[in-house]
């Protein structure tokens, strides 16, 4: 006997209440810490507070008007773009190799590429600092990009490997038999089909670099300080709502990037 008109499960909303509460809590703890800076950034007072008692745009003006903040933003953007370029290229090639070759070499390579993700960040930062001190890379863009590329590689490798998992390597063989050299077969047949994975790897690489602060604290400074490093210093020394304004802008940028890439992907998928 049905106790009510047939739904798929015969469970009422009331019986499911606990689930709704749980989901609500998860969302609360997931989203609120991310978004709470937004109201704080429009504060009219001199200190970070929630909720703000008065409202103003002064902290956005403070950020955009400061040459120091602008320079740090530029440093971060440059590092993130270069990191994206290197990590995506290297990571894609590495993942391809790992997927193509079987056996011990492949497993070993996979392990080595995952290493930066397993080692605590603070140890990596100390390691980078000492190694780069020996070869004079501390405080340079090259050093920063190298360190961030190392951090970002595992994400790219994982993303591309997952794309290759469902890819039929026979296609590349067919392409070769039809007259394409191996690199050309990769570029014209394999890459177009794993492009979504590569793109998501690239996105991860960009965000990894742009958000990174621990390594930046150790190996950058002065002219080369990244935006996150400056924000960190600011919170430690002043705690004015400029960081909240920057964070809000960054959140906006991230959402834009995500939505944009989703739209691109969907358009690509439809084609």
């Amino acid at each position: 006997m049905l106790s009510r008109p047939a739904t798929q499960t015969q469970i009422t909303h009331l019986q499911r209440l606990w689930l709704y509460v749980l989901v609500g809590l998860v969302f609360l703890f997931l989203i609120v810490p991310c978004l709470i800076v937004i109201p704080m950034s429009f504060s009219g007072s001199k200190y970070l507070e929630f909720p703000p008692r008065t409202w103003s745009l002064q902290w956005y003006e403070a950020y955009l008007g400061s040459p120091e903040w602008r320079a740090a933003t530029f440093v971060s953007l440059r590092a993130a773009l270069l990191t994206t370029l290197f990590a995506t290229t290297l990571g894609t090639i590495a993942a391809y190799g790992i997927a193509r070759v079987h056996g011990a070499v492949s497993s070993l390579a996979r392990g080595v590429f995952m290493l930066p993700m397993l080692v605590p960040l603070i140890l990596l930062a100390i390691g980078c600092f000492f190694v780069y001190a020996k070869i004079g890379l501390n405080g340079t863009t090259t050093g920063l990009v190298l360190a961030h590329t190392m951090l970002a590689l595992p994400f790219v490798v994982i993303a591309v490997l997952s794309g290759l998992a469902s890819y039929d390597m026979n296609q590349e063989r067919v392409a070769q038999s039809l007259g394409a050299s191996r690199p050309w077969a990769f570029l014209t047949v394999t890459l177009p089909q794993i492009r979504l994975s590569v793109l998501s790897g690239a996105l991860f690489a960009f965000v990894t670099s742009f958000d990174e602060v621990v390594i930046a604290l150790f190996i950058t400074g002065g002219q080369n300080a990244t935006l996150t490093r400056l924000m960190f210093a600011n919170i430690r020394d002043q705690i004015d709502p400029t960081v909240a304004a920057i964070s809000s802008l960054l959140i906006g940028l991230s959402i834009l990037l995500l939505v944009g890439s989703q739209l691109l992907l969907r358009k690509g998928a439809r084609k």
């Binding site: 070769q176 007259g179 394409a180």
Partner: protein, 355 residues
């Protein structure tokens, strides 16, 4: 005519496992040669050696006199069709077929014309703009074929191209492949483990077993003169009956056996009589005991166009025979009844266990 392939002493091992054991084979220009063998016998490995995806340990392959093994796959000018077709899902049917031509720098107008011709040949011209995901298995097969022949390769390689299709479509495609080969005359190396497919399509068949060629010959040679028990067993519905080799000659279940080819006994070899059910006759000379088998009917099944009669040999071997609905002067045997069967001398095949 180009396309003469000479394969010489190809060996390939994976660790201690020998996948190809000293394979030598000549393929004539325009020939349709099939590699037929059980799973794991090395057919794909040999095809991949030809295509350049597997490097043999030793040996040589020449095509029209020039060494082939040193060329990378993309310089070999081979058309290849894989079992799973491996069409490029990010390209339309037309672009798939045009891919090898674009690589060769053919002009756009020429590409269009040749793609259309190739698709016409496989009756797919009307679907040139389709995505390949929207094709049926048989259609994909045709596109893969068109893509492999559009650049007029010197050799066409096909690895079980029909095995993913259902029986009816497979038989239809076999005939189409044969027609296409008659028309184009491209030297073709075809891999299958379906013996009927091999018999239908091939000019010659190489039966492969354990990395070696067990026998190379035309379909009727392979079928009617198998060289050993393996080949006889692999081709056709085969039963083996034990033949005694005594002082007075050969005998089967105590009756004399007259054979087509003299039995050249190697020491200790026991001959086996290869029985193809369709070669057994219901009629014969009752008074002549030679080549007569007295068996017992153990089952009769009506199957519309014919009866399937199961008979048991004196030593218990059972053979399924097909019997037309109407054989003049002969009653349909009933279950439990004795039957007499005859095997003509020219249809006797003796093989030994040894290769």
């Amino acid at each position: 005519m180009p396309g003469k392939v000479e394969i010489r002493n190809i060996r390939k091992s994976y660790g201690s496992f020998v996948a190809l054991d000293d394979v030598s084979l000549d393929i004539a220009p325009g020939e349709f040669l099939t590699l037929l063998g059980p799973s794991g016998s090395g057919k794909t490995t040999l095809l991949n050696v030809l295509a350049g995806f597997v490097r043999p340990d030793s040996g040589s392959i020449t095509i029209d006199g020039t060494e082939f093994l040193t060329l990378p796959p993309h310089k070999r000018n081979l058309g290849m069709v894989f079992q799973n077709y491996a069409l490029f899902p990010h390209m339309s049917v037309g672009r798939n077929v045009g891919y090898p031509l674009r690589l060769r720098g053919v002009s756009a107008a020429e590409i269009e014309r040749r793609v259309r011709d190739a698709l016409d040949l496989v009756q797919m011209a009307h679907l040139a703009d389709r995505g390949v995901d929207a094709l049926s298995g048989g259609q994909r097969q045709r596109v893969a074929l068109a893509r492999a022949i559009v650049f007029e390769p010197s050799i066409l390689l096909m690895d079980e191209p029909l095995s993913a299709l259902d029986k009816k479509l497979r038989e239809h495609m076999q005939l189409e492949l044969k027609r296409l080969h008659d028309r184009l005359g491209t030297t073709t190396v075809y891999v299958t483990h379906d013996q009927r497919e091999a018999l239908t399509l091939s000019d010659r068949i190489a039966v492969v077993n354990g990395g070696r060629i067990a026998q190379l010959g035309t379909p009727d040679e392979i079928y009617d003169r198998p060289r050993n028990k393996f080949v006889a067993d692999f081709i056709g519905e085969t039963r083996f009956l034990p033949v005694e080799h005594g002082a007075s000659g050969l005998s089967l279940y105590g009756r004399p056996l007259k054979v087509r080819d003299e039995w050249k006994s190697l020491t200790g070899d026991t001959p086996w009589l290869v029985v193809r059910p369709e070669r057994l006759r219901w009629h014969g000379e009752e008074t002549d005991a030679a080549n007569r088998i007295d068996a017992e009917t153990t089952g009769v099944i009506y199957q519309g166009d014919s009866y399937l009669v199961t008979v048991r040999m004196p030593d218990g071997v059972e053979i399924d025979l097909r019997r037309g609905p109407d054989i003049a002067g002969k009653e349909l045997p009933q279950r439990g009844q004795p039957v007499h069967l005859w095997l003509d001398r020219e249809h006797t095949i003796l093989v030994s266990d040894k290769p």
